[in-house]
């Protein structure tokens, strides 16, 4: 027992134990997240998936726990299918607009903002995330309302006709901005934009300046460098950001309820189906749709080489 290297207390002994069995420490560290992700998260997702293969008895309104694809077939009924199409179109539009708006901001932050300006950038992006989502959405409802500041400003600068012309566009127009798809779109873009900027900025920051210089050195102008070097290298960030904007739009049920036409999005359909209608299987089937769309989206992105630069 007369070791020349005695342990100095229980902490030291523990360190020794972990040193001799490195896998033990790893196992202890990842056990809680595995339990959380595996059991609580993936487990409930599996339960959801299971529910979507059940159906509801049309007369009694009771869930029949037998395997069937009937519920999925119901998604293809025009009224349900429209909900899916509308939601996917909105999510795609919101994502594209977010990419276009976020890129210059992220590029500036990654390449030019230093020190204090970087702090200002982070604060500017994060600050909106700190205030309540509901407050922001209601604020937008007031901004976009017929009596709101946008209408007032448009009339003030003599662009009232232009606004009316925009609102007169079929499908996306409406009575006022706050009751049209344009309004829903604007609020979605506003609310999710930070989720696009941050991953984009992170991926742009990893592109070394020498890469851009090399492109210029080899004769490329700004546009060519953007297309052949910056964009491909930033693509993982764009895809990461679009996963947020796309999936968050696919699942949201509050924004379209407060701002927009009264037509349903997937989130609202799920909300009403699991509530008053009590049709859990169809709600579950609706909920599976965004998951499938995201899986398809990621597969396509991967095939197109979006993650090659990772």
């Amino acid at each position: 027992m007369d070791s020349a290297h005695p342990a100095r207390g229980p902490g030291d002994r523990l360190t020794g134990l972990f040193w001799s069995r490195p896998k033990l420490l790893t196992a202890l560290l990842i056990a809680p997240p595995i339990l959380w992700l595996g059991v609580v998260y993936v487990g409930s997702l599996a339960a959801l998936l299971l529910q979507s293969f059940y159906s509801i008895d049309e007369f009694s309104g009771v869930v029949v726990p037998e395997f069937t694809l009937k519920t999925y077939a119901e998604l293809l009924v025009p009224s349900n299918y429209d909900v899916i199409l509308r939601t996917v179109a909105m999510a795609a539009a919101v994502t594209l607009a977010s990419v276009a708006l976020a890129f210059p901001v992220a590029f500036f932050a990654a390449r030019y903002a230093k020190g204090r300006w970087k702090a200002v950038f982070y604060l500017g992006i994060m600050l909106p995330l700190w205030s309540s989502y509901l407050v922001k959405v209601y604020a937008w409802k007031l901004i976009l309302a017929k009596e709101g500041i946008i209408t007032w400003a448009a009339e003030g600068i003599g662009a009232g006709n232009l606004l009316n012309a925009v609102l007169a566009i079929p499908v996306i127009g409406g009575n006022s901005l706050s009751t049209s798809y344009i309004g829903t779109f604007l609020v979605f873009v506003y609310v999710w934009l930070p989720y696009m900027i941050l991953p984009m900025q992170a991926s742009l920051e990893r592109v070394p300046t020498s890469m851009l210089e090399a492109s210029a050195d080899l004769g490329a102008g700004g546009w060519r460098t953007f297309r052949s070097v910056i964009l491909p290298l930033a693509l993982p960030g764009v895809v990461a950001g679009s996963i947020f904007t796309f999936s968050l739009t696919l699942g949201d049920y509050i924004i379209p309820q407060i701002v927009g036409s009264s037509r349903f999005f997937i989130g609202q359909a799920v909300y009403s189906l699991q509530g008053t209608a009590g049709n859990i299987p169809l709600a579950a089937a609706f909920a599976v749709v965004p998951i499938v769309i995201m899986l398809v989206y990621l597969t396509v992105a991967r095939k197109m080489g979006a993650f090659d630069a990772l």
Partner: protein, 330 residues
């Protein structure tokens, strides 16, 4: 001989820092020109001034007689091998090499053919389909070289291109670069902090210190006849003698340099000075003996096979009178 690159009193300031301070130099066409200096001496900034990634704060830069004041990097007929190689990670080796040709609008077949030719030139035939991440450091370096050369630049700029390679590879690449430069006949401008590299490869060396050129000349000139104390110390770690010691060693009362390998240890009557051995450093091919004489440390390189005195022993020193180089600097 024509001037490939001319610096006319060029300065580049970053705020208060004078990274490059009124530099005048002429790089002859077809030469292998090394810019040597410690980090922060302005050599890399000078390279970036030639490529156009930095704009001079003052003075003018001419490339083949044409003023570069309004010419952006993508329109200059110079190409760069970057220190970190800056290969595009999302493109394979062939597309990396062909990038400059793609930018020029050369069609796919022609540019791929040319890229393969260039890869063969740097001995990387058959590597076209690999991604940069699958290559070793030395191979990446060659790709970077091929990518720059494919555009047939009139001046090739190399920014510490061998810095990331291990010793053996570095020596092999030095020979290859030199041979390549002689074969292609284009002007190479090479930035390095390694004096051995500069001396062995370049036709002319510019030694930079604190934003200025301390000396410009052939490797032999810079090595044998350093103009300043800084050059003597930085190039070949020479013994820099203050005026009093120079006088004691038989020269005028001026600063002088005496190469460690020019001194022999001798106890005979031909000894010009005496010193006490304070430290030994075994180098394999020889031993660096540090002696204290006249309150100054003098290093002597004793070749392998010659007996080395012990620490604490006293020894005489001798050298050829011509080895004592008196510097221009006061």
């Amino acid at each position: 001989m024509n001037a490939a690159v001319e610096f006319l009193s060029v300065s580049r300031h970053f705020g208060q820092v004078r990274a490059v301070d009124r530099v005048d130099m002429t790089i002859a066409e077809g030469s292998f020109f090394a810019m040597l200096g410690p980090s922060g001496s302005g050599k890399t900034t000078c390279l970036r001034l030639i490529s156009g990634f930095e704009k001079p704060s003052g003075g003018a830069i001419r490339i083949f007689g044409e003023d570069m004041g309004e010419v952006p990097p993508n329109r200059r007929h110079v190409n760069t091998v970057f220190q970190d190689y800056a290969l595009f990670p999302h493109m394979n080796v062939r597309d990396n090499v062909a990038y400059g040709l793609m930018v020029k609008g050369v069609d796919r077949r022609a540019r791929h053919g040319k890229a393969e030719e260039m890869l063969a030139l740097v001995k990387l035939d058959g590597f076209g389909d690999r991604k940069p991440a699958q290559l070793s450091g030395g191979q990446r370096q060659r790709v970077a070289l091929a990518r720059a050369l494919v555009n047939e630049p009139r001046v090739l700029l190399l920014d510490e291109p061998l810095g990331a390679l291990d010793l053996k590879l570095r020596e092999a690449m030095q020979d290859e670069l030199k041979a390549l430069q002689q074969r292609l006949g284009i002007t190479f401008v090479f930035v390095t902090h390694d004096q051995g590299e500069a001396l062995s490869m370049a036709d002319r060396v510019a030694v930079f210190n604190e934003g200025r050129i301390a000396q410009i000349g052939t490797p032999a000139e810079v090595y044998d006849r350093p103009a300043t104390r800084f050059v003597a110390d930085f190039v070949g770690s020479s013994n820099v003698l203050p005026p009093a010691l120079t006088q004691a060693f038989g020269g005028p009362a001026r600063w002088a340099s005496l190469r460690p390998e020019a001194i022999r240890l001798s106890t005979g009557p031909e000894a010009r000075a005496k010193g006490r051995v304070t430290a030994l450093r075994y180098l394999g091919a020889g031993t660096r003996v540090a002696l204290e004489t006249g309150g100054q440390e003098i290093a002597v390189l004793v070749p392998a096979g010659v007996p080395v005195p012990e620490v604490g022993a006293t020894s005489g020193l001798t050298w050829d009178a011509s080895a004592l180089h008196v510097m221009e600097e006061a």
